[in-house]
Every structure is written in C-alpha cells, then in structure tokens.
C-alpha cells in the first residue's frame, strides 16, 4: 500500500514482514524532528504499541522513517491515526490556554494605567 500525491508522495507505507499488519514502517516526506519526535512521544504513550521510533535516513533528504510495532495484531495505522489526533488535541488545548492567558495578562497590564 503506498499513498501518493499529485506530484510527489506525502506518506508511504512499507511493510517488511509478510502478513503482519502490526509492524509497519511509514515514510513521511518533508518532515524532520519537529513532527517526528512529538508524534513518537504521543504514540509511545499509547497502551498497545510495543515499539515506536523514527529515524532520519540522511540529513540531506527531508524524510523520516517512522516505525510502529503493535501488540495483538492491531493494524499499525490505528496508533498512527490516534497519535496524530491526540497531538492535534494537545495543540488545540495549548493554543486555547495560551490565548486565554495572554489576554488575561494584557488586561492586567491595562488596568493599572487606567
């Protein structure tokens, strides 16, 4: 199974083992430690993931090899999707908290001047 874009691929799936859908290496194009490390952290926090890691194959190429191995026959795209969703939720919460606190700070600064 390979994902393809219009001109160049964004996400590919490489399966080394035969029929085991739980051990998959994803190739994420145009990515580096920014998404790789944070996604790895979120997926490692999931319960049925046995192994999760990423590597940058060569620093001149901007792509990462992201490997997920699951326990119990769960297809590996499942923890990947859940990790991406959870990372989006974390970012949303951080954004809301940050904006609320900045507004509070700005209001607190204006009040002594009035």
């Amino acid at each position: 199974m390979a994902g393809e874009g219009e001109k160049k691929p964004v996400l590919e799936m490489i399966q080394a083992d035969g029929a085991d859908e739980g051990c998959v290496t994803f190739v994420l194009h145009d990515e580096d430690h920014t998404l790789g490390n944070s996604l790895r952290y979120m997926i490692m926090k999931t319960l049925d993931v046995e192994f999760c890691g990423y590597t940058i194959t060569h620093p001149s190429e901007s792509k990462i090899n992201f490997r997920i191995q699951t326990r119990g026959g769960l297809p590996a795209s499942e923890p990947l999707r859940r990790g991406l969703n959870e990372l989006t939720d974390v970012c949303q919460h951080v954004l809301n908290t940050f904006q609320a606190r900045v507004n509070e700070f700005k209001e607190g600064q204006e009040q002594p001047m009035e």
Binding site: V10, N37, S38, Y41, T88, Q99, Q109
Partner: protein, 347 residues
Amino acid sequence: MAATMKNVEEIRSRVILGEFGVKNVHTSDFPGNYPGYDDTWDMQKFQKNFRIDVVHLDESSMEFDMVGIDAAIANAFRRILLAEVPTMAIEKVFIYNNTSIVQDEVLAHRLGLIPIRADPRLFEYRNAGEEAAEEEASEIDTIQLQLKIKCSRNPRITGDVLHIYARNIILGDIKWVPIGNQADVFADSSIGPVHDDILIAQLRPGQELDIVMHCVKGIGKDHAKFSPVATASYRLLPEITLLEQVEGEKAERLKRCFSRGVIDLEDVNGKKVAKVVNSRLDTCSREVLRHDDLKNVVKLGRVRDHFIFTVESTGILPPDVLVTEAIKVLMAKCQRFLNELDSTDMK
C-alpha cells in the same frame, strides 16, 4: 541509578545535574516502564496538569512558562518558531543603477535580510512555476519596494578643507510601491521595513542607487531571512535543594557560587544561614560542584516538564501572535497526514 521507592519520583520528574554529567535526561514515563504507575496518555490528566504563565510581554519579546508538557512537543514549538512560521522578505532585487562602492550581490544580500512589516497571513506563497515570468508579480503574493537615491554634493560647504557631504543609506529611504489593489487593502497599515534607521550602504557625491525589490512569502527552513524571531529558546526550571544547613563563612561562599538573587543569607540565632530564595534566576553553571566542601551540600537539578520560553520577535509580528501561529503550523502538519491516511484508506 537504581529505581528504589524514593528515587522513582525523582527519576520521573527531575534532570539531575551532577559533577561529571547530567542524568535522567530522557523522558521515561511510558506505559509499562514503571510498575504501579499508569502512564497511558490521558487527556484529562494532561489538561489538569498543564498551565501557562505569562511573565513578560511587550511588542518585541515575551517570556512565558509552559508547565506540564513534554520536551518533544515544547521543542517542536521552538523549532517551528525558528524555521516554519512564514514571513515576507525581499527575494528579487532588480538593480537598475548601482554606482556605489557596495557590490550588487552584497547589496542584494543585505536587502534580503531586512525585516519587512507586512502581515504574512494576508499573502499567498508564490507558485514555484518555471514558466511564470519574473515580472508577473501579482498583488496577492508580492510586495514591491523601491529605493532610488542619489548622493549630491553639498554646495554650501566650501573652504580650505573640502568637506564633501556623504550620505548614509538607511532603511527609511525605502518606499513602498503598491501593486493592484494593495493601496486600498493596506491603506491603514504601513508596509515597509520594520526599523528605519539601519544602515544599508554609504554613498559619496555622484553615486546613486536605483533598485526595485520584490518581497515574497517564505519560511525560515528555506532561507534564514524568513525567520520571524530574533531567537526563540527555552530552558528548564532549575531546582536547588540544600541538603544540610549551611552557615557563616561557608554560606557566603555558597551564595557566591550561584547567580545573584538565587541564595540569600538570613539571620537565625545570630548566625547567617543560607536559604534558596529564587532558583528560577539561576543559570545552572554548577560552580558549586567545583568546591570540595560545598559540593555535597547542594543537590542541583531541573524540573523536566517546566519550560521557560523566551521569544524575541524581529518586529514583523508581535511575539504572542508568533507563538499562536507556531501552534497552528503544528496542527496543520498533523492534519496533512491525517488527510493522507484517510484518503489512502478509502481507496
């Protein structure tokens, strides 16, 4: 370091600064590592523990604390602030006349590094089309600036010593030339360089510059001129614990080992006793570990999930807007792969 009952909390939450190295650096609280702890990702627990405190905020820099998040995600925000928040910067320089002493390419390089005050969210990326002519600068993706200046001899200065009026070319000389409907859309916000007193070149009488510049939108990963921050960095909150009571002259020396304001001497029963007042100010130089009699008195460490962010903006966007944009960039990255996963699964 053996994980005994007392140590476990410390291993999980502190980075220990030792004499010869730093220990417990990596995050280890993943499910299954520690018996008795449930480390599975729990959004409720995260939201309960997470907080942000803004310490300082003005138009050019901000300092805020992010507590309860992991280093992987904090580092992702820092990397995005440096390299993936888009801005506008001068990309194409059309030099019609340059008789100054500064070479064309050096002048073009200097012009590219100038921060341009224009909200990049209102512009689009220029298509990297090979057939698109360079002259085709549309109003939605380009800002046009012009620099046309001539240094003339100052006729009023005469005399035995010939003072010739030399001209410093500063950013205030760069004028904005609106394309299309930009004059109406951006009428209230002045588009141009952020600061107007930075020196670009120096001219002597008779020399002139006639340059037209096109600014496009880009990200810092492509060229550092597109980076919107002077710098963005974080550090972990230091933690200093005194293991025994230190008094007298030893306390004086202990106070001098740390940055000013970290340790204070207070009077207890007539003796001066050292007390940790504000460990946040410490720069963690570990100077105290160089003294044999002081090194066993203190325990130095850092709190692993408390990040003190410092964001300095170049003036294009205010720093709180930059942080907001950085978080949105990370969300957009995740969304891109989610869409890709969904589209391939449906095939």
